[in-house]
């Protein structure tokens, strides 16, 4: 169902990057959750995260699907000013969803007896010790969970960071870059890992959830001016998105959501590819029960303060930004009160803000030679 867009006081502009994890926005639109809240939402597809940040900062977009670390990074930008400070979040869009894919060329050389993390990690380390080549590693943005998960992965595999070059490659170009031998290993959201397997360019060797079972990923960023002047619309929008997240966790809804997402105006890809990428939530080809994406359960929509703290520590550890310069409180950026009101309004349980599920992984420090 398409809601015709008319500019009125209930109209909202929401941006997204065409990835599987923008699904809650598309479902909220197509299944009518936005309309049920009386909202007229215009979804705007963007090609990159930088563009989302700029438009969110200036209020050209009211809200957007955005990398969780970007909310914090924008506050800490060098020579920052009011423009960069004008967005926050009151809602996470789920846990995980990323995977690490190794190029088939290297994977085949490893000749591993099984596909478990310790086996592959040890084989990769040995492989590197036999060559002088740099391992080119792809991520999607410097300030992304993808970058931090890669650090966790390389650390756990015992790989010397001096042998690694991390590069940002747009997700749409990842598979091709791997095919061309321009990147050896990458961390990206779906469907770009499944797509590499189908194209036989790469093999998924680790799910993000194996590194951190409840890792933050995307959040819904909102322009501060929008949140201040239209609090009621903000909460209605969040309520609709939470409903969409809940809807998405039902296995019976995979095919329908894949069909919606595959539409030319959204992800513009094959619905088969999306179904395969989503089925990983219920069936996995890897030992153990590793979920690819969690949209709703275990308070997956909570803006956990502990997650924000962890991200700040990671930024500091990898010398990205001096996080000691953060001048606003985390409460203002990770708005728990609004989240709590939305959950209460939907009759959904809210736990204490300290009670995030699982454990926070220790921040991986770069491994030296040896």
């Amino acid at each position: 169902m398409l809601t015709p867009f008319t500019a009125n006081q209930n109209s909202v502009q929401i941006g997204y990057v065409p990835l599987l994890d923008c699904a809650p926005l598309i479902v909220a639109q197509e299944a009518g959750f936005f309309a049920a809240e009386g909202l007229h939402v215009s979804l705007q597809r963007e090609s990159n995260w930088a563009s989302i940040r700029d438009k969110l900062s200036l209020g050209i977009l009211d809200a957007a699907h955005i990398l969780a670390p970007m909310v914090l990074a924008s506050q800490l930008a060098p020579a920052n000013n009011d423009h960069a400070k004008t967005f926050k979040t009151a809602l996470a869009m789920g846990y995980n969803g990323n995977a690490i894919t190794l190029s088939s060329q290297i994977y085949n050389q490893l000749a591993v007896p099984d596909n478990t993390f310790p086996t592959i990690a040890a084989a990769l380390k040995t492989h590197l010790s036999l060559t002088n080549e740099t391992l080119t590693v792809g991520t999607v943005h410097p300030h992304s969970m993808h970058t931090y998960l890669l650090h966790q992965f390389l650390n756990r595999a015992g790989i010397d960071m001096a042998r690694v070059a991390i590069k940002v490659i747009p997700p749409v170009n990842m598979v091709e870059a791997m095919h061309q031998g321009e990147v050896d290993l990458y961390c990206v959201g779906e469907p770009w890992n499944t797509a590499a397997q189908i194209a036989q360019a790469g093999r998924i060797i680790c799910y993000g959830s194996e590194l951190w079972a409840h890792a933050p990923e995307k959040v819904l960023g909102v322009n501060q001016g929008f949140a201040q002047t239209r609090p009621e619309i903000h909460e209605k929008m969040l309520a609709a998105i939470v409903r969409a997240c809940q809807w998405l966790e039902c296995a019976d809804h995979i095919a329908q959501s894949a069909l919606w997402l595959a539409e030319p105006e959204y992800l513009d890809c094959s619905s088969d590819l999306l179904i395969q990428a989503m089925l990983g939530q219920w069936h996995t080809e890897r030992p153990g029960s590793h979920q690819r994406k969690v949209f709703f359960s275990e308070q997956a929509n909570a803006p956990w303060p502990a997650h924000a703290q962890w991200i700040l520590q990671a930024m500091q550890a990898y010398n990205q930004i001096d996080t000691r310069k953060l001048s606003v409180s985390l409460d203002a950026l990770y708005d728990w009160q609004t989240y709590q009101r939305v959950m209460t309004r939907l009759d959904l349980p809210v736990v204490e803000r300290e009670h995030f599920p699982g454990l926070l992984p220790a921040i991986a420090r770069p491994v030296g030679p040896g």
Binding site: W49, A79, P142, I169, N173
Partner: protein, 187 residues
């Protein structure tokens, strides 16, 4: 200033390159297809990068700017209230810019305005092209519908045309839509 221009649309990049060069700047246009942004920024050392806001390569540029203090950073981080208008305009036109630390955004305004006008001009031409294409295809549909009506209703061209025009007026829709209905009905 050294300006790096990143735009996949060659017939937009070329005139912009010429205009910026005419202002006395050193301009390098990034060739398409290769992941060479890291290398280009390192060797050319641009003061300003002007990039198509819709280019997926922008996030690579974000990484480059995070690598070293010497490299250009998103202009949005430096802009003050007085720059608001030109930045907003540029983003709406699809132009984004990165500038080196220490360079005042006001000094980049001229460049941005040149880029904005080129992007808007391209947008206008694209719109016109689309309109012409639509008109052409409308005409083809009309001709086909007229032919079908003449055959099935055994009337002349003028009668076929006035029948369709009457239907369009009665239903208050475009003539091309009626023509499409006629085609759907008879073929």
């Amino acid at each position: 200033m050294n300006i790096l221009l990143i735009d996949q649309i060659a017939n937009r990049a070329k005139p912009l390159e010429a205009a910026l060069t005419a202002l006395g700047h050193q301009v390098v246009v990034r060739p398409s297809g290769k992941y060479t942004i890291y290398h280009m920024v390192e060797t050319f050392q641009p003061d300003v990068v002007i990039v198509d806001a819709d280019s997926p390569d922008r996030d690579t540029l974000e990484d480059v700017s995070a690598t070293s203090d010497r490299y250009p950073r998103p202009i949005i981080f430096f802009a003050t209230d007085e720059d608001d208008q030109v930045i907003r305009q540029s983003i709406q036109a699809g132009v984004s810019a990165y500038i080196v630390d220490g360079l005042q955004p006001s000094r980049v305004k001229t460049l941005l305005n040149v880029a904005i006008s080129r992007f808007e001009e391209h947008q206008r031409l694209k719109g016109e092209l689309l309109k012409t294409q639509n008109e052409l295809s409308d005409r083809k549909i009309m001709d086909k519908a007229k032919g079908l009506l003449m055959k099935h209703k055994q009337c002349d061209e003028e009668a076929a045309f006035s029948a369709m025009r009457k239907m369009a007026m009665n239903k208050n829709v475009k003539l091309a839509e009626i023509a499409q209905d006629v085609i759907d009905l008879f073929s």
